[in-house]
């Protein structure tokens, strides 16, 4: 059965159909939650909460996008809400202060050698993952939304409840930091 057929059945209360949708797409939804939260327990909780909300809001799914894209948006919003709660609770990091005052990323030397050259896909993915883990939540989020979810600046700003200017600054910092981290990881390997 296609996703659309399963959605139609699920709308009528068919839990078996919904379970099949969960089985098909649970890894993708969990992976998105994990990429944003970088914590297994939180990612599990938030991905499950996303599925519960998906069940409750199925009537809103109009087929403009794929079902998994629609579910991904739900889990992203839940993660963003959770990250905002975290932000209220934790002290400001130096990274965030730099972001407010601006400038650190502009002083980073431009990375001239492509740090991904010669890497096999699996190794590249691992490096990217390690580099992403070293970013702050805000910087990682903006990278995830732009590079992996392919959202435009305006859409990211709406979801992160900040200005487009802030999105652009965060993205710039995140990318420059990624380039620097990937280059650092490449140097580590050589040594």
């Amino acid at each position: 059965m296609s996703d659309q057929d399963l959605v139609t059945s699920s709308r009528k209360g068919d839990m078996v159909a919904f379970e099949e949708l969960v089985a098909r797409h649970r890894d993708k939804i969990y992976a998105r939650a994990f990429s944003m939260m970088r914590n297994e327990d939180e990612a599990l909780d938030l991905s499950q909460e996303a599925w519960v909300k998906g069940w409750q809001r199925l009537i809103q799914f109009q087929g403009d996008s794929s079902f998994v894209t629609w579910m991904t948006r739900i889990v992203i919003n839940l993660c963003l809400d959770q990250l905002r709660k975290h932000k209220r609770q934790r002290a400001e990091s130096i990274e965030m202060m730099d972001e407010e005052t601006g400038g650190v990323e502009r002083q980073m030397p431009v990375v001239t050698v492509n740090p991904t050259e010669g890497l096999e896909r699996g190794e590249l993915r691992q490096r990217i993952d390690r580099a992403l883990a070293q970013l702050s939540h805000e910087h990682r989020t903006v990278l995830v939304l732009h590079e992996f979810e392919e959202l435009e600046y305006k859409e990211i700003a709406k979801r992160m409840k900040c200005s487009i200017g802030t999105v652009m600054s965060r993205l710039f910092y995140a990318r420059r930091r990624m380039a620097s981290l990937l280059q650092g990881l490449k140097r580590e390997q050589k040594e």
Binding site: R26, W55, I59, T116, R125, I128, L143
Partner: protein
Amino acid sequence: MNDELTIKIQAWVDGELSGWQARGIAKLVERDAEAKALATELRQTKAALAQNEMTVAVPELREFYWNKIRLQIEREEASGTKRVSPAPWNPLSIFRSIGLPLAGLAVAAAVATVTLNQFSVPGYDEVTATSDEMSTLTFHDQSAGMTVVWLQDNTDQPVQDENSVDSDDVI
């Protein structure tokens, strides 16, 4: 290069600039080595990330993961949290404001019989919705001399349930 310029170079790399702004940055990148180097780095990072996200799987067995979801759904339904359902469509939602007191006006059937400032129900045009999923509203705008038949897809209605999610929550 100043901060504004570096951000613009990024926006250009991302295709977020158009028209003369995009052309200006393209020319700058062509002639200025520093701008070109930055654009190259940004592009390389972008390319590295694209399609190279690490895949992770749910670290729980299928049944265990699903049972937690199912139990939560049942718990919430038992406590009264209903599934979101479409609210009746308010046909006045399609009009520009015409300065009438909208509060208290009932939907569809009542509206069709109300004579408004500019609108009157025609006595001659007949329209039938031929699908159960559709409803129609017909009105005639006297000053425009225009007859309008609005076809509303009942499966495509805006949700007005108080527990409904903000429409920003889903695309």
